[in-house]
Symmetry: D2
Subunit: 324 residues, 4 copies
């Protein structure tokens, strides 16, 4: 952390994979220094985090790489103490407590912040994010899905009654750092497995932002034996003959982190590894069947990179600072 | 190869991954000994294979783990010399030369054998296979796809105008043993990539056997960084409320190599690794969306195991001999 | 478990990797059926295992795939009830309680069984094992190390004052099935790490069986990002010009599970994967430097396979039954 | 390549793994822009590279990520045209043509440049490199080996008659990008293999720089199923009681890319992945046995990173520019 950096960002949950990635990205940031904050659950005799922490350390922003329960508990105090907050958990992504209870199977304990939280997908909500105190960083799967799907739905090119299929695959770091049988080396290597078939908790984020209804969107998550990366293979049938390349070009003109491949070419995970890019490509048949492939690094554009992108927006820095 | 084995099976292409798997399976077979046959393309000064080979070595059957061109060249002579043939290539899977030319991008040179070739998916065509001289062993992807899809289509439970999506993933051995950039370690590891989007040459095998039309079936192949295994995630919308478990139970009662999971449970690749099983599971939503997951080992049920299953049928052995 | 099998073997610790391997191997055994025994620590309300279990279930032998503490607790009772015991833990491998305390950092609670326990490396102690009630199955690393080193030491070809180096590498299953940070996928993949440098608890097993003194044997264990397999690279300087191939041939004539490569050729892990073989090769320079490479599958020859080999010996079956 | 960069570096062999890494590192360099040069062997109708290329493009330096034959062919012309050359091949590492012929099994065709070539291990030869026209970038294995071993040998702490053992392990990118059976995914995954036992062509680089005699240094190379990284486990016996930490601290005080671990702690490959660091740690026993572990990224400190470090030295930039 160079002493010439003018602002400080607190990082809660810095030992997890997203937290570690935040630290690395902020090392490359010219203006913001990362400060590791010891959350009380991490250590018995640490001082509890509070608004006072923000004041004592002079934090301009706090980045929460924590589970939703911790984010719901900490956010209000940090905001009141004058810091901006970018929350990487699912706590503030859904717009209603009912929706939260349904998908996260627990009660929301910070409901009054839901209205205020800006959904931090800059490609769609850049101006809202710029003026927000609280930014809810999108889930890894919905980041790729919304970037690939929303322009198509909005352009009316999707035959909605046939639905959109999103077959998603993720590297193991998406499951977090805590050891479990599911993420144990011998269980993952030489394997490939599907989970949360049609009912993953990231589904409502896609519905909320793309305008799709639940019955129109089929989503399955799957585990690839690699450490990082998300590739989503998306299928739909055309409602009309609109030019797909043009739809994407119109949606993402001048976007620094979106790369659209020429027709017939699709990205793989090496294309986006350790970058904040979302790469999108597609292939189609004359009978109207289309397949779109979207790829991101789940720890960068799917988590820490996008969080810094949002942080840059709310602090008034160049959006790409630290990310190229 | 125990001397007590009563019959001999020639193996052409024994150095490839399917050929090696054939050798291993036949080691466990009580009645048939494998004999490695040196194809002339493998070695400059070897005696060319011919009908005489069959007679000299007393081969009851020849297993061709060769490219289609070699299979088209060798099959007729072996049959005339009195051997049965199980061909693992794509040479005899499609029913017309037109279809072959379209998907394999080359002319068929053994067209008169197409009518005679039995499609070796025993779960559907067991009786035809039993009486065939020439069995065309199915492709790896179509084996899983047809086993998962055909009972559903035949039961009328699939809403055909919305189509069926088959998002397929394969281990690297499916690409064969010849070194290439595509299968090079550093290109595959920590990667995941899609290829042959909507136009893989295995598509017509699924259409031909399931009764689907091309516009109703969207198929994408993808490479997992593992050595073996195919997992297919299949999406469709229900046309009626028929019981899916019952459909599969009716289709596969007493099948030795099909295992249907209880509703809501799906297989992973460890479930079927190094076995001849095809495992199938599904999950569904009340609004009619269904996802089916089918898993096989591409070198066993997807190639060598199924070839031995077919060999057992044409030679009159127990179908499971050497395979459990 | 076929009903035609005449004897039953209890398996304690059947959920671990070695336990699962025992179940698979016994499935292929013609005479012994495996019976899964629920150890009380596995389940709160299960009946505790005891000598009565042996009598109730008619167990000829109990295979303990348990931690040392459980083995020390259970063995005496099983023996008294009339079963033979093959213990896969480290509980009975070392000959003195002092040595056990030093290397395992805990007190031995079944000291009176130490004298009786036969060290189950059949290639060296076959006749002792045949007459034992209690067989202590060797550690995975010492199995390969002793098989590679002991014939050389006994033949006097090793320059002892320069010492023997054993640089050992193991797949992750060697660390057991319990999830931990050390065996978590993201920590292991794309990594390689050394641990227990010069003081691994398997060292005294090598000293005890090879005749080396501690200062003559340098051992380091390392983790390869694969699921199974141990490869040991062993270095020494020659004390004389004896023919190494001949030394190994003399030591292992007629051994069913030892394969000695020709000079200059060494095995890799694919050579022994999922087999009970120990493969050994070497390369040397005219100035007397020698490198030996030994490879085994840590779950087979390094654990469950060797346990069944020992079980076969104590029950009077062909030593290779179920293992080829 | 930013237009504000003041100098240009030509890269020959830019499609290989080292070449790609050079491009990435130079992207981060503030003063030197990388220029991809099409070597004539890469493309039939390209203009052959020559001294004229240097003049036409204004190249201050040429980085050769080529096989030795190409480096021997191109270097003289580039030098004469006024460029500095950093050669990543083995062409100029050994000091005599006899040594080159012995280890590389071919005749040296640019013998008169051997005297001039500076061996580019900056930690030992920084001042020589600074004034060189031609820098021979060390091999990946010798970089780690020399950094770990030379200070020990020079301090006299190694008992030379017992020898030093270097058991080296490398990721697959060390074998280059050209597809081969040896680097094919299915051959490498779930495997671990040794090659070039005691006679790897990198051995003489270690002898030449450490002062060891051939009979005192045993080296084996091994392939880990990962893409990048070298870990070397080094064994020796002490000749005296000198403090090893102090030896390393004295040797590497103020070195920007050397990190010495505290006694008993050793690095793994994640420690150095995608960095130009060489991490060194050790563990020892009271009887004088020592094991040292050294880790580098073979494509960075073992190739492209060190090449840029050398380039910085010969061009007069801060040695760490582009590398931290």
């Amino acid at each position: 952390m160079s002493s010439s950096k003018s602002l400080r960002a607190g990082i809660v949950g810095f030992r997890g994979y997203s937290g570690q990635e935040l630290i690395q990205i902020l090392h490359r940031h010219h203006y913001v220094a990362g400060v590791e904050l010891e959350h009380r659950s991490d250590s018995a005799n640490a001082t509890p985090l509070s608004g006072q922490t923000v004041k004592d350390l002079g934090l301009a922003v706090v980045l929460l790489a924590t589970p939703p329960e911790a984010s719901m508990e900490l956010t209000a105090e940090f905001l009141e103490a004058g810091a901006k907050v970018v929350d990487l958990s699912g706590a503030f992504r859904l717009k209603t407590v009912e929706n939260y209870s349904r998908w996260y199977k627990e009660t929301h304990t910070a409901a009054k912040l839901l209205d205020e939280a800006a959904y931090g997908l800059p490609e769609f909500y850049r101006n809202t994010v710029r003026h927000a105190r609280l930014v809810s960083n999108p889930g890894c799967y919905p980041t790729a899905a919304n970037l690939a799907i929303r322009p198509l739905v909005q352009a009316g090119v999707v035959k909605l009654d046939s639905g959109i299929i999103c077959d998603a695959k993720s590297g193991v770091s998406g499951a977090g750092r805590k050891p479990s049988m599911k993420t144990s080396f011998c269980e993952v290597t030489e394997n490939f497995s599907a989970y949360s078939l049609l009912d993953h908790r990231h589904v409502p984020e896609v519905l909320q932002n793309s305008g799709l209804e639940e019955s129109q969107f089929s989503f399955t998550a799957q585990l690839i034996p690699i450490d990082r990366g998300i590739l989503e293979t998306i299928y739909f049938r055309r409602a009309n003959a609109a030019d797909l390349s043009q739809i994407y070009r119109d949606a993402y003109a001048n976007e620094p982190f979106l790369r659209i491949h020429p027709p017939g070419k699709v990205p793989d995970l090496h294309s986006v590894r350790r970058t904040n890019f979302c790469d999108i490509g597609f292939s189609e048949q004359p009978d109207g069947r289309v397949v779109v492939v979207a790829a991101i690094d789940n720890l960068v554009k799917g988590a820490a990179g996008q969080a810094v992108q949002n942080m840059n927006l709310i602090l008034g820095f160049e959006e790409t600072e630290g990310l190229l």
